[in-house]
Amino acid sequence: MQIETNVLLFELALTFYFIATISGIIEIFRGKKDTSKVSLYLSLIGFIFHTANIIMRYIKGGHIPVTSMHEATSFFSWSILILFFIHEFRYKLGLLSSFIMPIVFLLMFSSSIFPREIKVLSPVLQSYWFVIHVILAFLGDAAFAMACGIGIMYLLQERNVKSKHLTMLFQKLPSLQTLDEINYHLITLGFPLLTLAMITGVIWANSAWGTYWRWDPKEVWSLITWLVYAIVLHLRLTVGWRGKKAAILSIVGFIIVIFAFFGIALILKGQHVFM
């Protein structure tokens, strides 16, 4: 009975995210100057179901629900939504949900493909370090996901201004400076989170296996991700790689994050593989 309820909650969340995504995309092309909040409200409703689903899985499994691909992907999109709502209410950026909700929906959709049963936690994962590690990692990745969405918005707005052909989208998208600043601030948020996630991961690895670093593919790709964002920040602060270049880098960075997230788990084998 309980399983059925949480499946239902998941499906409801997925459905609302889907409608929110569609209405967000329609909003991009709709010829009205003011942006409607429909997509935001739909995603909020979906988020409530989603949260209930995560809580139910937590109660049922007795641990933070990130131990299968289904749970991890769902938790990932949930973390993005938390950052999305914070940004939406703080900055009121026009069209933000049109660019974030597709990412959220695609993650939820891939989550729905994976097997959903709640697995018994392997002893290796029963550690506070693990919980902290996972939460930090997902929040960091969520910040990079947001930076990617904002980066796409920046590129579109930049093309508008450079091409001197101002479409309706020009009116609706935020200013270049705002987008660039938020992109930067998201990366300065994601980078330390990722760093801390790696440190806690290393500590936990040591307590679980007695070795800090084992060149597990996930570890390698995390390191690559970390290096990419370190370079993004470095170039920005030293030679002023801002604007378009920063936007492109934050999109590339997120592609690597996604590859590290799915690619490793699906193609390669390691401790981070859940199935």
Binding site: V161, K162, K164, L176, G240, G243, K244
Partner: protein, 427 residues
């Protein structure tokens, strides 16, 4: 009572005439109070802006209304009736309502969609209210015009985008920088369009202003006007390091700023974005500069291109707005018709009922006692005759048509109705 508009605007009268007829400052209150005393003009509001002077009036008779308003203007401003007849336009009844709506929603403005007119109209109305020169008719018309203007603003994109080069420049600057108050601006050279754009930028919050010009004296003059700092023309490239927005308009026949120079500056300013507007013809700034990252270069043609698209868009939106105006005229007319007709219709019905009752009772008395059924039949007969007789005139009075005033008059005279004049206005 009917609506009459007498006025002139930028299309019908040159500035010299508009100046003479303007009711500015204290003249406005004086004028509406004089008009208030006129017999022909029951209600009045005067709108006086730099592009138009209009008198909105509620009159019981059109011709005498027009005459007394024209006489009043001619006396008040000491201008000849001849000149007035040439430049004034008149709008009566339905056309007056349409005109009012179009003015309020900025469809009749020089720059269609400009937002100031509604505020000016509200001010004019406030002054009229304060001086109690309006009545039920103009009050309703004003309120309705404001709501029509708001409806048009929300339902169409008539005022959505900039339709002048200087506003387009500000709009772009805001989409590049968001907050202009932290940005520095440099004006290179001078010229009407450049100065206008500079003024708009400063009005939008830009605080640090640098002025440079080949002629030092001119630079100082402009610096005084814009509260800016003068920099020498030889140094302006160095100063670009601290400048975010540049407007350039010099008479130089060649480029005064090259791609290499900006490339170097951008490196030094760590790629902080720069927005450069080149208003000069021939162009003074190397167009290839636009290829650099984080530099946005616009010349006159590209700004004009944006303005043209926006103007076209406004024209399209204006069509939608005209449709809204048409719709809303209908609802006002309905209200106006009911306002004028109701007392007359009621009076007509009462009169008919009075006669019917009296005649019916007289007849019943004469015939003496008889069956209830027969009395009922007779009563029914009288009722249906009366109803059939007064149906066409009441229906006509309630319908909407142009010569309602005449019809009301005729009906009142034919049936010797006494409707209290005052009541018409207060219902």
């Amino acid at each position: 009572m009917n609506i009459l508009i007498v006025g002139l605007n930028h299309k019908t009268a040159p500035i010299e005439v508009r100046e003479k007829i303007a009711f500015d400052g204290p003249k406005l209150e004086e004028a509406i109070n004089i008009l208030k005393k006129s017999n022909a003009v029951k209600e009045n509001i005067i709108l006086s802006t730099c592009n138009r002077v209009e008198i909105y009036a509620g009159v019981s008779d059109m011709d005498s209304g027009i005459e007394s308003i024209k006489d009043f203007i001619s006396e008040f401003h000491k201008v000849s009736r001849d000149l007035l007849d040439k430049s004034l336009y008149l709008h009566k009844g339905t056309e007056a309502i349409r005109h009012m709506y179009r003015v309020a929603s900025s469809l009749d403005s020089m720059v269609v969609g400009e937002p100031q007119i509604l505020g000016q109209l509200k001010d004019a109305y406030d002054t009229a209210l304060k001086n109690k020169t309006t009545g039920v008719l103009l009050n309703k018309l004003m309120r309705k015009s404001v709501s029509v203007a708001k409806r048009i603003r929300t339902e169409t994109r008539i005022a959505a985008s900039a339709v002048s080069i200087s506003f387009a420049a500000v709009e772009l600057a805001k989409k590049i920088f968001e907050d202009l108050s932290t940005k520095a601006f440099m004006l290179i050279g001078a010229g009407e369009m450049a100065e206008l754009a500079a003024r708009h930028l400063i009005n939008s919050g830009v605080q640090d202003v640098f002025i440079t010009n080949r002629t030092m004296a001119r630079a100082e003059e402009l610096a005084l006007e814009f509260h800016g700092k003068v920099i020498t023309f030889e140094n302006f490239v160095q100063e670009l390091l601290h400048t975010d927005i540049v407007i350039c308009s010099t008479g130089a026949p060649h480029y005064i700023l090259l791609k290499e120079q900006v490339h170097k500056t951008m490196k030094e300013r760590k790629q902080k974005p720069m927005f450069i507007i080149d208003i000069s013809v021939p162009r003074n700034i190397d167009p290839q500069i636009n290829d650099l990252d984080n530099v946005y270069l616009y010349d006159v043609d590209s700004l004009q291109g944006i303005v043209d698209t926006n103007v076209q868009e406004r024209a399209k939106e204006a069509e939608k707005a005209e449709q809204i105006v048409d719709e809303e005229i209908g609802s006002f007319l309905k209200w106006h018709a009911s306002l004028a007709a109701t007392p007359t219709v009621v009076a007509l019905r009462n009169k008919a009922e009075e006669i019917r009752k009296a005649e019916f009772e007289k007849t019943v008395k004469k015939l003496g006692p008889m069956e209830e059924e027969k009395v009922k039949a007779i009563e029914y007969l009288t009722i249906s005759i009366v109803n059939k007789l007064i149906h066409p005139p009441t229906a006509a009075l309630k319908s909407e048509n142009n010569d309602k005033e005449t019809m009301l008059d005729v009906v009142q005279k034919l049936f010797q109705l006494e409707t209290e004049k005052g009541k018409d206005e207060e219902t």
